[in-house]
C-alpha cells in the first residue's frame, strides 16, 4: 500500500505518528518519491539531502517505537515533518550556495540558528532550495545554477527570491520551508505559488547563519499550506535572544519592545488558536484597506480576488475602512537605495580569501579581488553592488542614502499612524499574477516593480503574511497580503487562520 501523504499539514503528520498509523520514515519516503518524480519539472532544489534525512527519520522511528514516552509532543512540534531550506541558510557540512558561483562549493562549518531550532523541534530537512542569486530578484531567474518553475504551470515563474522554497511546498516536496524576506522574497513567491508565506517582525527570528543581503531588512520566515502551520513553524524558531545575532530581540513580547501588549507567539497561543472559529477571531476586528496598493496599476483579477477576501472579513464581523499611507509610494525608491547600499557592504566579504571562488591567475591582490568578483557574481548582483556603492560614495551619500533613510522614517510613521485605528491592513501581495519566464528580465526596473506591495513592511520592520485568495482565469494563484504592527505576529497569524478556516 503506497500512501503519498499529499497536501498533509503538520497536524496531519503528528496525528499519524501519535496513533501509530505511520512512521517518519514512511512519510519521508513518500516525499522523496514525489521529489524524484516531479523535480525535473519543478526544479526546486539546488541540493537534496536525502541520506541525512533518512538517517534522522530512522532515529525518530526508533524513538517512536522504543521510547514514545520521551517525546514531548507539545515541544517537538515538528517531529518527523519534512522541511526544505532556502539555500542562503547555513547548514553544517551541506553546500550553501546562495545560487551564486562565488559560493558554489561552500560548506558551512555550522548550522544557522533558525534551521538549528527547527531541527531541535524534530524537523527532517529534505534539501536546499533555489533562489535568485544572494536573494536578489523576484522570479528565481537570477539563479546561477538552475530554473525553478511554478508548480501550477511550468511556463510561469515561481516568484522570488525564495522561489524554490515556495515551489517545494506547492509541489508537496515538503510540508514546510524556510525563506528569507528582504523586500518581499517570502510573500511574493508564496503568492505566485499559492501557499502561505510570512515575514515576521524584524528581530523576532535570529539571522545568524543567514547569508546577509541587507541586514536592516532581512528576516527569516516560513512557507506552509496553512496559516496554522506557519504559526507552528514560526513559534518553533522565534522568541529567544540569540547571542550570535545582536539584532535578535531579547524577550520580544515583554514590555521593552511590545508597547501595544500583543500576545506572545508561543505554542500555547498556537494551540488555542486552532479551536477558534472565523467569527470569534473577526468579531470587532478593524481592518484597513491599504489605499495606495489597490486599484491603479493592479491587474483587475488581483483586485477582484482581494476584494472578495475583504468582503469575507466583513461577513465574519470585521469593520472595514480605507486608509491612506501617502509616503508608501516612495517605498520602492527608498528600498533600492538602502538595500543595495547594505548589500554592497555585506557582499564585500566575498573576496576570494577565506571561502568561495578565487581567480587563480591574478598576479597581485587587487586583481585577484577584481577578477574573482567579476567571475563569481551574476549581472543582477553586480548591478546592485554598483548601485549601492554609488549611493554610498562621496558626494552622493546625502542625496541618496541619507534622503532614503529619512523617507524610510516617514513610511514607518505612516504605518504607526494607521495602526492606531486598525488591527491590520490588507492589500494584494503582488499587483500582478505570476508572469512568464523572460517577460521582465530585459529591464531591471520593471522587475523591481514586482515588489511594490511587499517592500513597505520591510522598511517599517512589521510582520506581513501572504495567503492564497483566488486564482486567475488561467488557474494561477493570487495572494492576499495582511500587514500588522510590530510584534503583532501571533494576532496576524490568527486573523489569517480565521480567514482560511471560514473558506474551507
Amino acid at each position: 500500500m503506497a500512501i503519498d501523504y499529499k497536501a498533509s499539514t503538520i497536524n496531519d503528520l503528528t496525528q499519524l505518528y501519535r496513533s501509530g498509523e505511520a512512521t517518519p520514515s514512511q512519510v519521508l519516503e513518500a516525499y522523496i518519491k514525489r521529489i524524484e518524480r516531479d523535480e525535473a519539472r519543478v526544479g526546486a532544489f539546488i541540493t537534496t539531502t536525502f541520506d541525512e534525512a533518512r538517517e534522522i527519520a530512522h532515529r525518530l522511528d526508533k524513538r517512536l517505537a522504543d521510547a514514545p514516552e520521551t517525546i514531548d509532543w507539545d515541544k517537538e512540534t515538528l517531529f518527523g515533518v519534512p522541511v526544505a531550506l532556502k539555500d542562503n541558510m547555513c547548514t553544517q557540512g551541506v553546500k550553501t550556495t546562495c545560487a551564486s558561483k562565488i559560493l558554489g562549493d561552500f560548506r558551512p562549518p555550522y548550522d544557522g540558528t533558525a534551521p538549528g531550532r527547527l531541527r531541535a523541534h524534530g524537523a527532517v530537512f529534505v534539501g536546499k532550495t533555489n533562489l535568485d542569486e544572494f536573494a536578489m530578484g523576484s522570479s528565481c531567474e537570477n539563479s546561477a545554477f538552475m530554473r525553478t518553475t511554478n508548480p501550477h504551470n511550468a511556463d510561469y515563474v515561481p516568484g522570488g527570491s525564495s522561489g524554490g522554497s515556495a515551489a517545494s511546498v506547492a509541489a508537496d516536496f515538503a510540508v514546510a520551508a524556510l525563506g528569507s524576506d528582504t523586500g518581499g522574497s517570502i510573500r511574493q513567491p508564496a503568492s505566485f505559488c499559492g501557499v502561505v508565506g510570512m515575514k515576521p517582525t524584524y528581530g523576532l527570528v535570529s539571522r545568524y547563519g543567514l547569508v546577509a543581503f541587507a541586514s536592516s531588512l532581512d528576516q527569516i520566515g516560513p512557507f506552509t499550506r496553512t496559516a496554522y502551520d506557519a504559526a507552528l513553524v514560526l513559534a518553533a524558531m522565534c522568541g529567544q535572544k540569540d547571542p550570535r545575532d545582536s539584532t535578535s530581540l531579547e524577550d520580544p513580547f515583554g514590555k521593552t519592545f511590545n508597547k501595544r501588549g500583543f500576545a506572545a507567539l508561543d505554542q500555547g497561543f498556537v494551540k488555542a488558536m486552532q479551536a477558534k472559529t472565523g467569527q470569534e477571531i473577526y468579531k470587532g476586528a478593524r481592518v484597513g484597506v491599504f489605499k495606495e496598493l489597490m486599484g491603479q496599476g493592479n491587474d483587475p483579477q488581483v483586485d477582484k480576488a482581494v476584494s472578495a477576501s475583504i468582503e469575507r472579513m466583513r461577513e465574519l464581523g470585521a469593520t472595514i475602512t480605507e486608509v491612506s499611507l501617502p509616503n508608501a509610494k516612495y517605498a520602492l525608491a527608498v528600498y533600492y537605495i538602502l538595500a543595495t547600499a547594505e548589500a554592497s557592504a555585506n557582499l564585500a566579504r566575498f573576496d576570494g580569501v577565506r571561502y568561495g571562488l578565487r581567480d587563480p591567475k591574478a598576479k597581485d591582490l587587487l586583481n585577484m579581488y577584481l577578477e574573482t568578483r567579476h567571475e563569481g557574481f551574476g549581472p543582477e548582483v553586480k548591478r546592485r553592488i554598483m548601485l549601492g556603492t554609488y549611493a554610498l560614495s562621496s558626494g552622493y551619500y546625502d542625496a541618496y542614502y541619507k534622503k532614503a533613510q529619512q523617507v524610510r522614517r516617514l513610511i514607518a510613521s505612516d504605518f504607526e499612524r494607521v495602526f492606531a485605528e486598525c488591527d491590520f491592513l490588507v492589500s494584494p501581495t503582488s499587483p500582478i499574477p505570476p508572469f512568464k519566464f523572460d517577460e521582465k528580465t530585459g529591464d531591471p526596473l520593471t522587475m523591481y516593480l514586482a515588489d511594490v506591495a511587499t517592500i513597505p513592511a520591510n522598511l517599517a520592520g512589521i510582520p506581513g503574511i501572504s495567503l492564497p485568495c483566488g486564482t486567475t482565469d488561467n488557474d494561477l494563484p493570487i495572494g492576499l497580503q495582511m500587514l500588522g504592527p510590530q510584534l503583532s505576529d501571533a494576532h496576524l497569524l490568527q486573523y489569517a487562520h480565521g480567514l482560511q478556516q471560514s473558506a474551507d
Partner: protein, 94 residues
C-alpha cells in the same frame, strides 16, 4: 546623470572588473534606476531623523568571556589557498 566614467570609478570602489559591454549596459540601466529615485526629491524631509534600523536597539553587549567556538581547521576548510594556520593571498602591491 551617471556617466560611463562614474560607472568605472564605482566598479573600482566595489572591486569589480567590468567588460566594456557591462560598463555600457550598467551606465544605461543605472541611469534609469537613479532617474526613478529622483522622485524622492519631492519629499520634504527637513528635520526628519534618518532611520537606519527598524527597531530601536542600541549597544547590545555581552560578557567579554573567552569561549571555544568553532574549530580553526573547520573554519579554514573552505579557503581556496592556505598555508599552515594562514590564508594565502597573492602579493600586495609592488
Amino acid at each position: 546623470m551617471i556617466t560611463q566614467k562614474d560607472v568605472l570609478h564605482v566598479a573600482k570602489l566595489a572591486r569589480l572588473s567590468l567588460t566594456d559591454d557591462e560598463a555600457a549596459q550598467f551606465t544605461e540601466q543605472l541611469g534609469r534606476v537613479l532617474g526613478y529615485m529622483e522622485q524622492l526629491n519631492e519629499v520634504d524631509t527637513e528635520g526628519v531623523e534618518p532611520m537606519s534600523h527598524p527597531i530601536p536597539v542600541v549597544n547590545v553587549m555581552r560578557d567579554d568571556e573567552i569561549v571555544r567556538d568553532l574549530d580553526r581547521q573547520a573554519l579554514m576548510a573552505n579557503a581556496p589557498v592556505t598555508e599552515g594556520a594562514f590564508f594565502k593571498v597573492p602579493k600586495i602591491g609592488e
